[in-house]
Amino acid sequence: MDIPNSLRRSAHALTHDWGRRTVIGIPYLFLFVLFTVPFLVVLKLSVSETDGIRFLDLLSYADGVVHLKIKLSNYLFLGSDPLYVETYWSSIKFAGINTLICLAIGYPFAYFMARSPANRRPALLMLVSLPFWTSYLLRVYAWKGLLDDQGVFNNVLIWLHLIHQPIRMMHTAFSMTIGMVYAYLPFMILPLYANLVKMDLRLLEAAQDLGATPWQTFWLVTVPLSKNGIIAGAMLVFIPSMGEYVIPELLGGPSTLMIGRVLWDEFFSNNDWAMASAVAVSMVMLILVPLAIFYRYRADTGGVRGV
C-alpha cells in the first residue's frame, strides 16, 4: 500500500516537532525549576512579613479585599546600616582591584602565549587550565601555608636574613588580594588567549609597514582588537569575585569585608533567612550591569572557560 507523500511529510514534521520540543523543553524546565523559581522564592522571602519563624503570604484576602503586603524594612536596613554599605563598597573595591591586577598580569601572559610557536601552544594552554582541574578550595588553602607567620615566605625571608621578625601577611588585605588574583587569573588568561590567538597578524604587519613602532602597534592595533577578550575576561573575574566566600573566609581578616561572607554569616550564624535573602537580591542587583555587559561581549569568546 502506498502512503501518500504529503502524509509522510507531515508525519515527519510531527516527529521532528516533538523532538524539538523535547530537546528544548527538558533543559528549560530543569533550569526554570532549579534556577528561576528558587530565585523568586528568595525574592518573596526578602519582602515577607514573619510571624515568629513562619513567613506569611504576600497576598491575603479578607472581607472581599485582596491585600498585598510587601515589607521593605530589610532593604531599608541594608541601605542605611553603615556596616552593610561599607561591605558593598569593600566588595566592589576588592573585586575591582582583583580584576585590574589579573588584567595587568594576564594580558601580557595571554599575549606571549598566543605569540609563542604554534606547536608549543597546546601545552602552554593545558598548563593554564590544569589548575582548574585541581580543587579550588585546596589551592586557596595552599596560600595559608605560604603566607602564614610560620609559613614558607616568612621562613625563606628569615633564612635569607632579610627580616628578623615574621611579617604578618595572613588575614590582611594583602593575603586576600593575592588569593583572589591567584584563583581568578586563569579566567582572565583563557578568554584573552582565545581572542589574541585568532588575531590577523597581517594587520600588525601592515601597521609596522606604515611606520608604527612595536609599542604603537601594540597599543593602537593589538589592544583595540582584543577589546572583546578584555571585557569577557574582566567580567569573568569581576562578577564571581564580588560574591566570593571561600577566599575571604580562609585568607581574609576582619578588615576585608565581603558581601558573600556576610550573606553566609547572616544565614548560618544569625539564622536570619529574610535578611540573607535581601542581601542575595541586592547582590544580584549589583551584578546585573556587569552581567549585561558580559552577555553582550561573550559571543566572541564563547566556550573558553574551563577547557
Binding site: H16, G19, T22, V23, I24, I26, Y28, L31, L34, F35, T36, P38, F39, V41, V42, I105, F109, F112, M113, M126, L127, P131, W133, T134, S135, Y136, L137, L138, R139, Y141, A142, K144, G145, L146, D148, Q150, V152, N155, Y182, P214, I239, M242, G243, E244, Y245, V246, L250, L263, F267, F268, S277, M283, I287, L291, F294, Y295, R298, G303, R305, V307
Partner: protein, 281 residues
C-alpha cells in the same frame, strides 16, 4: 616585544600558578608537628587519612554525588547545547541562553541560598525533599549542565554540518543521524564535559554547604572545616592525592583526545581523497 621578556613573563606566571600546589605536595610529606617547619620525610599523614573515617565517608559520598551529577549534567547539557545551536529561534530563546550562561558567573552563595530556600519551601508544602544527596545533586547539576552546555556548544558550532546533511539525504531518520553521525563526532566534547562537571562537583563547597543536611557531609565540607581551624597536614595529604589523580586523568584524557582528533582528521582526508578519485574515474 622581545621574546626574552615574553619567556620571563610566562615562566613567572607559571611559577605563580604552580607554587602553591607544589608547596601543598611537598609539605604533605613533612614529619613535623609544626606544619610548615620541615622535619624530615614521612608518609605518616597518608596513613592517618587512610584510617580517618570522617574523610573516607565524605570522600565516598562526594564520589557518588559527582558521578550522578556529571552524568545528568552531560545529558541535560547536550540537549541545551543542541537547542542553542540547532534551533534558530524559539519562544524565549534569549531567556533560555541567559539561563544557560547565568550559573557560570552568578556567585555560588546566591545559587546555594536560593536553592536551599526553595527546597525548604517545598518541604513545608509537600513534605519533600529532605536535605541530602538529592538536594546536593540538584545544586551541582544546575551549575554543571551550564558548563557542559558551553563545552558541547562550542564543539557543535565548529562541527561540519554537511556530514549530517549527507546522512539525511541518504535517508537517515533524525534519530539515526544523531546516533550514527552526530554522536560520534561530539563524543570527545561529551567526555571533556563529563570530566569537567565531575571535578566541579567533587570540588564544590559553597552550594554544598547550603544544600547538605545532617549526615551528608562531602569531602570539601570536611576540608573547609579543617582549613578554617588552621594548617592541617591531613589536608595537605588529601590535596596531594587529589592533584595526583587529577593530573594523571587530565593528562591521559587530553592525550587520548588529541590522538582521536588526528585520527579523525586523517580518516576524513582519506575518505575525501577516495571520493575525489571515484569522481575522477
Amino acid at each position: 616585544m622581545t621574546s626574552r621578556l615574553g619567556k620571563a613573563w610566562l615562566i613567572a606566571g607559571y611559577f605563580f600558578l604552580y607554587l602553591p600546589i607544589v608547596t601543598l605536595i611537598v609539605y604533605s610529606f613533612n614529619d613535623s608537628k609544626m606544619v610548615m617547619l620541615w622535619g624530615g620525610f614521612t608518609f605518616k599523614w597518608y596513613g592517618v587519612i587512610a584510617h580517618d573515617t570522617e574523610v573516607l565517608d565524605a570522600f565516598k559520598l562526594s564520589l557518588r554525588i559527582a558521578l550522578l551529577s556529571a552524568t545528568a549534567s552531560v545529558l541535560l547539557g547536550t540537549l541545551a547545547a543542541f537547542a542553542m545551536v540547532r534551533y534558530q529561534d524559539f519562544w524565549g530563546k534569549t531567556a533560555f541562553s541567559a539561563h544557560i550562561n547565568a550559573p557560570l558567573v552568578v556567585p555560588e552563595v546566591i545559587t546555594g541560598l536560593s536553592l536551599l530556600l526553595f527546597f525548604v519551601t517545598c518541604e513545608r508544602l509537600f513534605g519533600w525533599p529532605d536535605r541530602g544527596v538529592l538536594t546536593i545533586w540538584a545544586g551541582h547539576t544546575s551549575v554543571g549542565m551550564a558548563y557542559a552546555a558551553v563545552v558541547i556548544q562550542s564543539r557543535l558550532l565548529e562541527m561540519d554540518k554537511s556530514l549530517e546533511e549527507a546522512a539525511m539525504d541518504l535517508g537517515c531518520k533524525p534519530f539515526q543521524v544523531f546516533y550514527l553521525v552526530t554522536l560520534p563526532l561530539i563524543a570527545q566534547s561529551l567526555l571533556a564535559a563529563w570530566l569537567l562537571t565531575f571535578t566541579l562537583s567533587l570540588d564544590d563547597v559553597v552550594s554544598t554547604a547550603f544544600l547538605s543536611g545532617p549526615g551528608s557531609t562531602t569531602l570539601p565540607i570536611v576540608i573547609l572545616s579543617r582549613a578554617r581551624l588552621g594548617l592541617d597536614p591531613t589536608v595537605n595529604a588529601i590535596a596531594t592525592i587529589t592533584v595526583a589523580v587529577v593530573s594523571v586523568a587530565v593528562f591521559a584524557g587530553s592525550l587520548w583526545l588529541s590522538r582521536q582528533e588526528t585520527r579523525r582528521a586523517q580518516e576524513q582526508a582519506a575518505a575525501y581523497r577516495e571520493g575525489m578519485q571515484q569522481v575522477a574515474a
